[in-house]
Symmetry: C2
């Protein structure tokens, strides 16, 4: 059955039936003109939207419908995590070719819904629209953060140490593996491909850092580490230096770009879509950082450099030379 054959109202009912029961703070969920929710007291609302476009952000031959649904929510939860916010609700806007089969929409909704359940998020509304173009999954996510715990990009100061969650370069390597057809010859490769298909938003770490007030600035790595460092530095009015030797490169990615250490480093810096978090932590806040690490032990946090009063954004290469950090990844230019 295609979505055209099913019709808009029936498709909405079908999506609604696959979602988990709503959180208690949902007053009106799917089925009215708009959703109505009760905001947390003493907290700001945090709002973000991000779209996955077929052929640009995913290919149906490389990602299952469930992967796409997962990732469409994950990229938004990553943005909330980077603000230190607790995710609460999501809106799902689907732009669907009429010939799309309904089973694939089911899979997409299931993938999104499973990740929503992990993080206590309710899908409270959305929209379905027809298109003559590619499938687009546009998700709005809403969360809450206490004013004093909010993590901005602009809060950093010279001397703050830069920490990153998890590992780098896995998603970019996974995408190259998919393009080359060599995807699952071992567990390390499979891990890279999974990083591309189903990134795990670092919600727990973002909350832990926010609650322990362990960071002065934060940002997610949707467009790669180099872009994130550059933006935190610029917004904070600082420079930065990143130590190439310190970068926690995903093992499968290190093996994938085995030709040269330099190539590995560049890929880890500019490869997008790792959806790790970058934090700026003053050296004096070590105790708070320890508290945050106790709240969220996994994935590990790795110190990769620091903010500087010098305005440049540099990398300390393995050979001890300083070079300008390579440019980041920009969607329209790739």
């Amino acid at each position: 059955v295609t979505v055209s054959e099913l019709g808009e109202h029936a498709l909405v009912s079908r999506i609604r039936a696959r979602l988990s029961p709503p959180r208690r703070d949902v007053v009106i969920g799917i089925g009215d003109d708009a959703a109505v929710v009760t905001g947390a007291r003493n907290a700001h609302a945090v709002l973000t939207v991000d779209a996955l476009v077929e052929g640009v952000h995913f290919k149906r031959r490389w990602s299952s419908p469930g992967d796409v649904g997962h990732k469409a929510l994950a990229v938004n939860l990553s943005d909330l995590a980077a603000m230190g916010a607790e995710p609460q609700w999501a809106l799902l806007s689907l732009i669907v070719p009429g010939a799309h089969v309904v089973d694939e929409i089911d899979g997409l909704v299931d993938g999104l819904s499973a990740l929503a359940a992990v993080h206590g998020v309710s899908v409270v509304g959305g929209n379905v629209a027809r298109t003559d173009g590619p499938l687009i999954v546009d998700v709005t996510a809403i969360g809450a953060v206490r004013p004093r715990r909010m993590l901005r990009r602009s809060g950093g100061r010279p001397g703050d140490e830069l920490y990153v969650t998890g590992t780098l370069g896995g998603a970019a390597a996974g995408l190259e593996m998919l393009a080359s057809g060599d995807t699952a010859s071992d567990a390390e490769r499979a891990a890279c491909v999974a990083r591309h298909r189903r990134p795990e938003p670092r919600v727990r770490t973002g909350l832990a850092m926010s609650r322990a007030r362990a960071a002065r600035a934060a940002m997610d790595l949707s467009d790669g580490l180099a872009d994130a460092v550059r933006q935190i530095a610029a917004e904070s009015g600082c420079g930065a230096i990143v130590e190439a030797d310190a970068l926690p490169i995903e093992p499968g990615a290190r093996r994938w770009w085995t030709d040269s250490a330099r190539e590995v480093t560049i890929a880890a810096l500019v490869g997008g879509e790792d959806y790790e978090l970058l934090f700026a932590v003053p050296p004096a806040w070590k105790g708070r950082l320890r508290a945050a690490r106790q709240r969220a032990a996994s994935p590990p946090l790795t110190r990769i450099g620091r903010l500087t009063s010098d305005p440049g954004v540099m990398i300390l290469a393995r050979e001890g030379r300083r070079e300008p950090l390579p440019a980041g990844f920009e969607h329209f230019r790739c």
Copy 2:
């Protein structure tokens, strides 16, 4: 200059520069991982999302970029108005072909921004993504409503009178005029075309009805009057009867379908996109209704029928016969 040539970061900066300064309750606007706002006290948050897809919801040869920007926000403000909510913030998610010229994005943002200013809405964030398909403008709007003033679809009771704002059939007639090439031979036709291009969301009336507690249920007419009556009746566990003679048909639409009164009535019932509001008002609440009308005198509210304990949804035709209400408009089936 095309959006590909400009690049994603520069496009976001350009959009940001065209928007009005934010409301006071915006803590962080465009430029961080997510937007942060301060919710109103003692109010629920109201959330909605709706997309305009080129070739499906608009054609670039019939609507200017400014028209598209206006309408993309208007359809969302209409949903908030139907809940009795005060609009506060919006997120703009643009899915843009790389070859699209930046000037048209400017026009689109200006159209959206002008309507936002009229209703005191701040565009606090969004996203731009590239597509190989049509231009898509997906807007999320957020508003606030006090719990006891919220207007649901399900609140109606048998005997409640049905009122509709403004006029019906104008947008559908305007779309046919555009298709036929006869668009502006007189002011009445131009008014219909304007209804298609730039619907005015009935924010003031929705707020007036909500604040005066004059309605027990409400819904907007995005998919036509017949669909709205059917849905309010179903959600309220009632039937409904609509009086054909009472329908406030847009003058240009009446002339456009001049062949038969029956055709005019059906077009006014099933023609989508008028974005008027439908309210269910108990007969005993006449005083409250009067108060609401004083708060928002324009557009007029017209009584068009009532909810019934009889489960059918009927129309009382001009000749005195009762017939089932024709089916509404469904996007995937048109």
